[in-house]
């Protein structure tokens, strides 16, 4: 069953990436993903994620420590339903604006991930699947750098479009066949104006118009033949190439930041598969969290987190090492993360989260389980982009002291994580270190 699940995930991953990924455009906008599914599974180096814009589809894998000698055990895929369904209603200005309704629609991302964990009962390894829905309510505004770039982009799009206009104008003005068709429809125009409902005349007009389309398309194709000797055509083509070269350069420089106030919201759940079978899966965690803060143009940012989590233990060892069933413990987390983009590739951050447990005293005492204590987590992370879609993150700090995992208090965590993303391009302003 384990092999079946892994094979299914691997096949689905490869199939969907092959089928839907659009990696042909050289836009360096696919940032390393901080998939919400990884966050709820505890795979992400940081609990407080930087807001980002979605891709239509992305796959992530994470390999923590072990010198990267093992096959990664954590995978996640995320889809943005709006873009997967086509995104037809999106308009370019939507990316520039920061309106909650459109933000929610365009940034909603559903992610699903898997990782492995160990049973506290017998230490056996089992799989967990996390699912999360995340969206941005506010995602900040684009910078002046973007506005300058945007002006240049539209200027050269206009220059390029005008060369196409000039080419068609030259081609159809100097083509006898096209002008003969044009003269014919002028005559038809007078007749149709007098008899607007005459279907035969309208049908004839449609036919002539289609022939004009075919003729103009053929002329354009001929003009683009490299062997064309016409000096006017060659001059227009040279002008078009100049504009296109600049456009290609501009399109490649689009890794723009969003600055200002940001507010994300996410919901997630984790299913445990204790004996690697779907039949015995159970819900082990539910969580809702919101991230909010300010991202400056200079690179530093402050983000706050409020998170409510419910942990549902199907079976649990009590203080006497006796298995007890159905223990629920909740947690309220509130935290802060400060980070600084020291260079375009290197991001340093510190994160502190305080946790307050919520539980039924009588339920725990009846089952001989010690009450969980308020705790905290603080980590330092250095995240470096080692490749276009790859982040190497070094994390050092103190994790939550969770007595149910039986880790010693003050357990220090130090891990290297490689998180890689595969997917298509995204609109402006993604950040996810």
């Amino acid at each position: 069953m384990k092999k079946l699940v892994l094979s299914a995930i691997a096949f689905w991953t490869i199939y969907t990436v092959k089928g839907q990924t659009d990696s042909s455009i050289s836009l360096n906008q696919l940032q390393v993903p901080s998939t919400p599914a990884f966050t709820i599974l505890g795979v992400s180096p940081n609990d407080i994620e930087r807001p980002k814009n979605p891709t239509d589809f992305a796959v992530s894998l994470s390999n923590a420590s072990q010198n990267f000698t093992v096959i990664p055990k954590s995978y996640a895929a995320e889809v943005a339903p709006f873009w997967i369904l086509g995104g037809k209603s999106a308009r370019y200005k939507d990316f520039e604006e920061d309106k909650p309704g459109k933000n929610i629609l365009q940034t909603a991302v559903f992610s699903i991930g898997t990782t492995t964990s160990h049973s506290e009962v017998d230490s056996s390894e089992f799989y967990q699947i996390g699912m999360a829905l995340k969206f941005s309510i506010f995602r900040g505004s684009l910078t002046d750098e973007f506005k300058h770039w945007n002006d240049s982009l539209h200027q050269y799009l206009g220059a390029y479009a005008m060369t196409t206009n000039r080419l068609y104008d030259y081609l159809i003005s100097n083509d006898k066949a096209y002008n003969a068709l044009r003269d014919s429809i002028n005559v038809l125009g007078d007749l149709i104006r007098a008899n607007p409902n005459n279907s035969a005349l309208n049908s004839q007009l449609a036919s002539l118009t289609n022939r004009m389309t075919d003729r103009s398309a053929a002329l354009y194709q001929q003009a683009n033949d490299p062997g064309t000797k016409d000096s006017t055509i060659n001059q227009i083509k040279a002008d078009a190439k100049t504009s296109l070269d600049i456009l290609t350069h501009l399109v490649a420089q689009t890794d723009f930041k969003r600055i200002g106030w940001k507010w994300d919201f996410a919901l997630g759940m984790v299913l445990d598969y204790p004996d690697q079978t779907f039949e015995n899966a159970y819900l082990s965690k539910l969580a809702a969290w919101t991230t909010f803060g300010y991202e400056s143009e200079k690179g530093w940012s402050v983000l706050g987190l409020v998170r409510g989590t419910g942990d549902f233990f199907h079976q649990k060892l009590n203080d006497n090492n006796v298995l007890v069933n159905d223990i629920n413990i909740g947690e309220i987390d509130y935290g802060l993360r400060i980070y600084d983009d020291v260079t375009p590739k290197l991001t340093l951050s510190v994160e502190a989260i305080w946790r307050k447990p919520i539980y039924s005293k009588s339920k725990l005492s009846d089952n001989n389980i010690s009450a969980p204590q308020a705790t905290n987590r603080y980590v330092f992370t250095a995240s470096y982009k080692v490749g276009k879609n790859q982040n190497l993150a070094f994390t050092y700090g103190k994790n939550f002291d969770n007595s149910f995992i039986k880790k010693s208090p003050g357990d220090m965590i130090a891990a290297l994580s490689l998180i890689m993303g595969f997917g298509s391009t995204r609109p402006f302003g993604g950040s996810s270190n």
């Binding site: 455009i25 200027q155 799009l157 390029y160 479009a161 607007p196 289609n210 103009s216 399109v251």
Partner: protein, 117 residues
């Protein structure tokens, strides 16, 4: 870089009512639209726009307007459609120009050649 051309015939009325052009760029891509009306360039327009005044019915008759929209792929989809709408003539004219981005294309052009008759 691909181009799609469509010829559209617009039947004018015997009036001096204005004729306008609206262009809608779908799927969130960036675009600039340029115009040549009887070989003369009109000011370009960025992205989607509505009700650009072209002239009157009587004034535009027997004229040719070439409209080209250059679209840059800026949204996470290869789908691309530009809708052109002419209002004010004998009948409304709506033309959908669909040209997906493929291969290494970063910019495509959509051309409509309007013949006013």
């Amino acid at each position: 870089m691909a181009n799609k051309v469509t010829n559209v015939t617009i039947i004018t009325s015997n009036t001096n009512d204005p004729i306008t052009l609206s262009v809608d760029i779908l799927y969130g891509h960036a675009a600039t639209t340029t115009f040549l009306l009887n070989h003369i360039a009109l000011p370009p327009k960025q992205d989607s726009f509505s009700d650009m005044l072209l002239g009157t019915n009587n004034g535009l008759r027997h004229n040719t307007l070439i409209v080209t929209t250059a679209v840059a792929k800026k949204a996470p989809t290869t789908n691309c459609e530009v809708d052109y709408t002419i209002d004010g003539a004998l009948a409304q004219s709506v033309t959908q120009s669909i040209l997906p981005f493929n291969g290494t294309d970063t910019v495509n052009t959509h051309t409509i050649i309007y013949s006013f008759i």
